[in-house]
Amino acid sequence: MGKISAPRNNREFVEACVKSGDAVRIKQEVDWDNEAGAIVRRCCELGEAAPFMESIKDYPGFSYFGAPLSTYRRMAIALGMDPASTLPQIGAEYLKRTNSEPIAPVIVDRRDAPCKENILLGDDVDLCKLPVPLVHDGDGGRYVGTWHGVITKHPVRGDVNWGMYRQMMWDGRTMSGAVFPFSDLGKTLTDYYLPRGEGCPFATAIGLSPLAAMAACAPSPIPEPELCGMLSGEAVRLVKCETNDLEVPADAEIIIEGMILPDYKVEEGPFGEYTGYRTSPRDFRVTFRVDAITYRNNATMTISNMGVPQDEGQLLRSFSLGLELEKLLKSQGIPVTGVYMHPRSTHHMMIVGVKPTYAGIAMQIAQLAFGSKLGPWFHMVMVVDDQTDIFNWDEVYHAFCTRCNPERGIHVFKNTTGTALYPHATPHDRKYSIGSQVLFDCLWPVDWDKTNDVPTLVSFKNVYPKNIQEKVLNSWADYGFRGAKK
């Protein structure tokens, strides 16, 4: 694999984005109370450059970086690629890197770890010393973790998990978060810590390198420190925590250390979510007690503002969920031609292209997709044939509206795993994370006679001889048309 030169930390990433016009420096003072959130939200809705806010009311020395990965251009920059790279090119690069050899992290001395430049311990610990933003008006609290990694370790297996699980500031020493029971951390808690009544050490890292953040929200089975190494082509630098045995990215902007309490819960939410709504109810959720805060000089807090499309919750998760499903289906020998989630589906619909070589292939795809670890995050799988361009919604929508038979093509899966965040779920199903899912099979049935029963697609590309197509395309302007040559 050629040398990758991806930004190694958040600062290099901000610089690269400013240089390419994909971030703007905002010099005027911005209020942490709603204003910063409103700026980030509007950037997401307009597909704007990412805001780097250099002056925050009440918090001299701190800055914000909002909407870090809410465009494919910034995703390409994060991967060290040309910002103009297309989505299929970015996807191919992600698949190449995540199929390479894992790269183990290295431990560095604390003197080489910028995240140790300032250390708050004991009575000095107060989350209010950090510029924790009120992201949306009406949220249940100021959110410390919106673009970050919660770092934990399984005490028996020893495997390390970095997961992006939102964290709300309840008071200066307490955070609460939505850690779903089917997530890696959720399983570690229910499998080990909760039954024993033991606290689970955690560290929250904010202002990660963009690829570390990408790893923290990727649904990959590879442990995130190694995954981050594979994505960036070099070992991640880790340093030991001050108050527990965990290791955290040495170049992160802010680290919060503490313990997840097994027998004490405070309220969390409501919060603006990736679906574009505030859906999940306020509830007593996983509670994090803070023991230490460390941060770089002039630390930058990263902010993702989730709401209507499109933000990184939709863009990045659609990207990685789709590609991880592609890997899974290919590992089972299914002749898929590609998998794509449109970010505007708020990562709710998987579009799978496949060569329809045998009966039941769409059902096999849906069963694998819904039955996998990825399954709770989407509730629709649409399977189209290899002639349909999965990246072209016009083609996919046409295939869906014309080929999906209401009786034979729509299959509902009941009593599956859901989340409290699904806007269409009943209040009861949200409370217990009960899901339901659906397959839209848009393939021509294999038992239809290919010559006489399968309709012919009537398109310019499909019905005219090649020589006529070429003649028409080449003469298009001469005919007098001024539009794009398609």
Partner: protein, 85 residues
């Protein structure tokens, strides 16, 4: 100076008047600690001049209610077990 508080409820009936309630309230006072929570024994009244502090209310999905209250914080309640303090 009078304090400003906020509470989240699913139903306004949770804010019964004329008796002591235990609520999770957050401060709306300006400053670094704005929006931090505490658990407290309180009394609320729809008469805005009944108590010195004010209370505004948000419903289940963060909608601001147009009903306003005054509030008296009787005492803080610490639910966090001693061993974690």
């Amino acid at each position: 100076m009078a304090n400003k508080w906020e509470v989240f409820v699913m139903d306004l009936a949770e804010l019964a008047e004329g008796k002591e309630l235990e609520l999770t309230i957050r401060t709306l006072n300006d400053g670094l600690h704005k929006y931090t929570y505490q658990r407290a024994k309180v009394e609320v009244s729809s008469k805005l001049d009944q108590f010195a502090d004010s209370l505004q209310v948000r419903l289940g999905r963060g909608q601001l209610s147009d009903r306003k209250f005054s509030i008296r914080v009787i005492e803080r309640v610490e639910r966090l077990p001693e061993r974690y303090r």
